[in-house]
Amino acid sequence: MGVEGIGARVTRKEDKRFLTGKGRYTDDMTVPGMKYAYFVRSPYAHAKIKNIDATAAKAMPGVIDLLDGKQLQADGIGNLICGWMIHSKDGTPMKMGAWHPLAVDTVRYVGDAIAIVVADSYGEARDAAEAVVVDYEQLPAVTGAVAALASGAPQIHPEAPGNLIFDWQIGEPDAVDQAIAAAAHVTEIEILNNRLSPNPMEPRATLGIYDTAEDHYTCYTTSQNPHVARLVMSAFYNVAPENKLRVIAPDVGGGFGSKIYIYPEEIICLWASKKTGVPVKWTSDRTEAFLTDAHGRDHVSKVKMAFDANNRITALKVDTIANLGAYMSLFSSAVPTYLYATLLSGQYAIPAIHANVRTVYTNTVPVDAYRGAGRPEATYLLERTMETAARELGVSPAELRRTNFIRSFPYQTPVIMNYDAGDYEASLNAAMQAADWAGFAARRAQSEARGKKRGIGMSCYIEACGIAPSAAVGSLGAGVGLWESAEVRVNAVGTIEVLTGSHSHGQGHETTFAQLVAGRLGVPIESINIVHGDTDKVQMGMGTYGSRSGAVGMSAIVKALDKVEAKAKKIAAHLMEASEEDIVIENGELKVAGTDKSVPWFQVALASYTAHNLPSGMEPGLKETAFYDPSNFTFPAGCYIAEVEIDPDTGETDIVQFVAADDFGNIINPMIVEGQVHGGIAQGIGQALLENVQYDENGQLLTASYMDYAMPRADDLPSFSLSHQNTPCPGNPLGIKGCGEAGAIGSPPALINAITDAIGHNKLTMPATPMKVWQALQTAH
């Protein structure tokens, strides 16, 4: 390990600009002539639009124009789509209802966009938006997934009778039913996974700029994947051909999944820029973010887990209803299917699994991937079930898990996944030791003496990162390939630009990716720049989500580096009249192994560009591109332990310790990995204790600001105790697995297992707010 290479705790190259206020986020962008947009949005969860009267609004001060859905449709702008086809178990394709970027005849959730106002100032645009008179015919609304499936429920899309989008299954129903019938014990539980709002601190924003002379569009946007945005806006929404559309995602203030999707606002601002002839900027406020950013989770599941007389799991049966909201967002269909049900084996050898998943339209914001996406839902379900089973069977939670751990790899689960490597017991042991599990009884007694209730809970999670390979996901319905691209561009003086299709919005790629190159070539990290987030600079990319940037994005850089190194070695061998096979790269030099002959890196770079003395037939230059398509998912896993103390007078939960033991394979920068885990755990604790999106019966969002949606704050959280175990991933050149989502996946069940341990019964749903815990304690008495 070098001081700047792989494994080193290098402080971040990008920090100085963020710390000094020089970050450049989308809302920071201004261009000459720029005007401001405000969207007219539906105040109703479900209604027919009978008429839009914009006469008064258009006459307001500062207003440039007001544009509606009919105009958008007339200009041939397409509907928003879901990019992953799922077929129901009867073979019929999912039933996707039309999603007009601006609603034309029907609005289906509070916040559905109806028209855009462009004005000289934000205030004037908003003033005018309020003056638009929309004549609605209100329709009955439904917000809960179970209610939406009930007979007589309001019908949301004509394409999806009964609001059912698909009824999908995975696994072997007959084998599962037989195993349950023959079981020594069956644990049954109903699991609710609460609905969340991702809440990156930077609200979404976009700046659309149309250049009349070039017939060219530029879109600044808060995106995790600008190339996918360009692809989708070109291929499906008819905004512009790809060569006429540049998408730039500059500094982006967090995403957590919610900035993967192409939302109506990007499309409309580009179109509005052409219609009005001025650059158009829109920035969401926080309430709009709650109303329109894709939400996460929202599952209702029934679970049966069967055990034999030795406490070995013989089968798992899951029936899940997933709320997808009013429209199918970009990856919404994949989340409760291939990112969820395929992980239901967890860390356990389960011979038979069957999961049935029904997805449902409701009059709520679209639901899509949020940090973890499907895997938190699977982990919460499994680990709550395991905890419940352990209590029912009278064995310790650790023992039940040890009895059922998968211990040899590769391991083929009954639900598609083939786990390549892991050591689940190592993480369990590390976590239990760090948490002093053995000393818990004494700590509980101390708490009781002070009138408090103490509980401890664990969660053994597995997740799948770097969705792949492309051919496999294609066969499962994905509309895109899930590879990554990289270009390593060595300049004539030896400095290096790495162009990547990954996008950093907090993950620190500018540092970790540079560490990889610095380590390989032995050049200073300052001589390496990471370029990302601009379709004009980077050829193509699939972006950052699903903890894929390390495992997939960096693997692409490795492939490009391999090519650069090979060429550099040829040049060096030629310059030193040595054999190419004898050249090694060390400390910024190309050396002839076993001799004192060497040329510095910059000299080889210079030679490649002067081209005065290259091997015969070699092209000048030192720049290579690679695409990397992984052979499999990666499988990070770990064990989390939460210990809580509850104040029975108020129901308040104090997290007295939180321990995480994670196996991410090899680690590039432990400091950054730890930061990812911290953030993930905080979001998991948020889900478990604080956060909950709630609608009233009419579909009004009750939690539309931080006044009612409880975000984790510093004093809600403890400091965390972390450790890493390492079984390197055999599937990629760096042996890395991905760390971005683990914290959010593993932590909620650990918390709820701890709280239910403290209160002495299982009747508790997330979030475990003080009131709910207090109520649970009253029923226990």
Partner: protein
Amino acid sequence: MTKVTLTVNGRAMSGECEDRTLLVHFIREKLGLTGTHVGCDTTQCGACVIHMDGLSVKSCSILAVQASGSTITTIEGLAGQGELHPVQAAFKEHHGLQCGFCTPGMVMTAVDLINREGGTLTEETVRAGLEGNICRCTGYHNIVKAILAADAEMATGRQAAE
């Protein structure tokens, strides 16, 4: 339009704005200092924290006209050109930031906290002092570490100066 005059980061600045213009928008749009951010509408997230007359305030909940005549420090003015204030340096050293969006408000809050309670801070009082600032990336773990480290560093600096 009303004329607003401020001393910002040591320099006298003025500009015209509507009376309804928030101080944060005046700073971002009229003065071009975009390091101060807006993350919510309800005076809670703290991305907009600046110092006004030496005290931390939420610039999203103050009108520019209200602030007229006052002395403002924004994240851009915390340290000299090219330098880092000890709090900024500690955030870098301890990885107290990820996406960077809440960071200016966090740093300005931390400086104010150390100004008021420096030398006595504990993990608990730092966490309490961050009640008005929301971060979605870091889980606060490294922010707390960074502030405690900066406090210790600045206390050493104060002792050395005495």
